[in-house]
């Protein structure tokens, strides 16, 4: 009881819960208006009411297959995302600090960057030996370009007076990198990570639908939605969609938490 009253005592939590309840009510009205008045509400006439979706949700929760979809989508997103971070951050920093490196690698990077990750799907399905690898590769691409561009932009926009001040106090190139450039780029790294994570979810879903991941390993949430569509279960489609919403929310709050931990000076505004 006390935890609930605490929850409702907090203004932010109260607003959040209120807005979610409001959203569900509007959804319910939109879905039921046909039954009540005989008139379809344009566009959302066929959306299942929240009660039915909730029932479908309860229906899939005990099923192992549903959770397997979570696990496989999550592991693809995390793999692609982590690889993109591990390669993208040093790559972006190198582009920022080294003129020669930038001269060599920036032009091809800029030509590859505008290609949408999904355009890579057919080529990577052919190129990579397994479906799993090609999906991971496409997810990686989704996050990689965004992370690199953010890191590059962030590192290049560090105020030169910090570098000058550090230099005149005797900092070496090594110190300048670790004490000024890297911490100065952290905010952009986390922005890139948050945006990149969003793109990763978009890409993984689409890749799962296209590749029909069911043949090898778990299908993932994308395939779950596609399967529900093929089976004509409208409620389950919405269940899949909401699942992705929750998954994405979990990922971005994890990134926020990590950013909060690593950037104490940003907690103040």
């Amino acid at each position: 009881m006390s935890t609930i009253s605490n929850l409702f005592g907090n203004t932010t939590a109260r607003r959040g819960i209120g807005s979610l309840i409001g959203f569900v009510i509007i959804w319910h009205i939109g879905a039921m208006i046909d039954d009540w008045t005989g008139y379809d509400l344009l566009g959302i006439g066929l959306v299942p009411p929240p009660g039915d979706v909730f029932a479908a949700f309860l229906g899939v929760i005990p099923k192992a297959g549903y959770w397997m979809s979570w696990v496989s989508s999550f592991s693809r997103v995390v793999t692609g995302f982590l690889v993109a971070m591990i390669i993208g951050i040093p790559f972006g920093l190198m582009l920022a600090v080294n003129r020669y490196f930038r001269g060599i690698f920036f032009p091809p990077f800029e030509i590859l960057r505008p290609i949408p990750p999904l355009a890579w799907v057919p080529a990577s399905l052919i190129f990579w030996p397994t479906n799993e690898m090609s999906i991971a590769f496409v997810t990686f691409l989704g996050a990689f370009f965004t992370i690199v561009i953010n890191v590059l932009g962030g590192a290049r926009s560090i105020d030169i007076s910090y570098l000058r001040a550090a230099q005149s106090m005797g900092a070496t190139q090594f110190d300048l990198f670790w004490k000024i450039v890297l911490p100065g780029t952290l905010p952009s790294i986390f922005t890139g990570a948050a945006v990149g994570m969003g793109i990763t979810w978009e890409v993984v879903l689409a890749a799962e639908m296209i590749s029909g991941g069911g043949t090898q390993g778990g299908g993932g949430l994308g395939f779950f939605i596609w399967n529900s569509y093929m089976g004509g279960s409208l409620e389950q489609i919405v269940v899949g969609m909401i699942s992705i919403g929750i998954a994405g929310y979990l990922c971005s709050s994890a990134i926020r938490k990590i950013g909060y931990y690593f950037m104490p000076w940003r907690r103040l505004f």
Partner: protein
């Protein structure tokens, strides 16, 4: 540990904050920007002397290349011709003997005030650990930031940030302090408080100070020598010796002498400002 080093350190701390100062000279310094065919001459053949242990203020019309002058003195940029020397030694790059306090705050945002102050000695490794922290804390208390040591720069007011920067510069025991319009952007009240505080600090230490500003009153209040610059390409118009007693206070600004200096400076600067105004029209 080198025993000699420890010996000099204790003697340094014994005679308190009396630090060495150096004489800075610019000889025939010119600086242009841009390609040869499109070069803009910013500084033209400047020769000026900054005597050791004195406070020399540079004033000039806005946009005249004062910051370029600072960059040359600090060693962030190299002159095209001529040279900058410190006690006869030619400046080739930035070094800890010349500390710059910048126009906008250059406190590192991801370090607390204390970390900012200890940054230089830590980077060079010439002071460390508890004794460094203690020295930094003492300095911060002296500039009135004792309670703000563990705050980040963004949590400090404008005036506090400038004082933190002063502390960060002083801990490096520079022989020359270069101040590039350090109090710009402060409100009038904090500005005059900072001027008094800065003067008090200077009068205690008598370190060579080069102070750039565009405010004539500030310049006269602080200076031993007043260097008046011209418009671009910048040259030295005059050097006025400001013969007001130290320690100074604000009342001296209303004296007949100060009024005479102000009139002289105003006339020179006004003429220059009118020229640039006419050009931009």
């Amino acid at each position: 540990m080198n025993p000699n080093k420890t010996a000099t350190k204790t003697s340094e701390s014994k005679n308190a904050k009396k630090l060495e100062s150096a004489r800075v000279e610019m000889k025939g310094v010119s600086k242009s920007y841009g390609e040869d065919w499109d070069a803009e001459e910013v500084i033209k053949n400047i020769s000026v002397d900054f005597p050791a242990g004195e406070l020399t203020v540079i004033v000039g019309p806005s946009g005249c290349g004062k910051s370029t002058l600072v960059n040359l003195l600090a060693g962030f940029e190299k002159p095209d011709t001529g040279q900058v020397t410190i006690d006869g030694e030619i400046v080739t790059g930035p070094a800890k003997d010349r500390m710059v306090v910048f126009q906008e705050t250059a406190l590192i945002p991801w370090q607390t005030t204390l970390e900012n102050v200890t940054f230089g000695p830590k980077m060079r490794g010439d002071k460390q650990g508890a004794s460094l922290n203690k020295e930094a804390e003492e300095l911060l208390i002296k500039v009135g930031l004792g309670e703000f040591m563990h705050k980040y720069p963004i949590q400090l007011s404008g005036g506090m940030q400038r004082r933190a920067e002063l502390a960060r510069a002083l801990i490096n025991e520079p022989t020359v302090m270069i101040m590039d319009e350090p109090f710009r952007g402060l409100d009038a009240m904090s500005r005059s408080l900072m001027q008094e505080f800065f003067l008090q600090l200077f009068e205690e230490n008598q370190k060579t100070n080069i102070f750039v500003t565009s405010e004539i009153d500030e310049a006269i209040f602080l200076a031993d020598n007043l260097v008046i610059l011209s418009n671009k390409p910048t040259t030295v118009q005059t050097v006025i010796k400001i013969d007001l007693p130290r320690p100074r206070n604000y009342k001296m600004l209303t004296s007949a002498k100060a009024f005479k200096y102000r009139k002289q400076a105003m006339e020179l600067l006004h003429g220059e400002a009118m020229k640039s105004f006419a050009v931009s029209k």
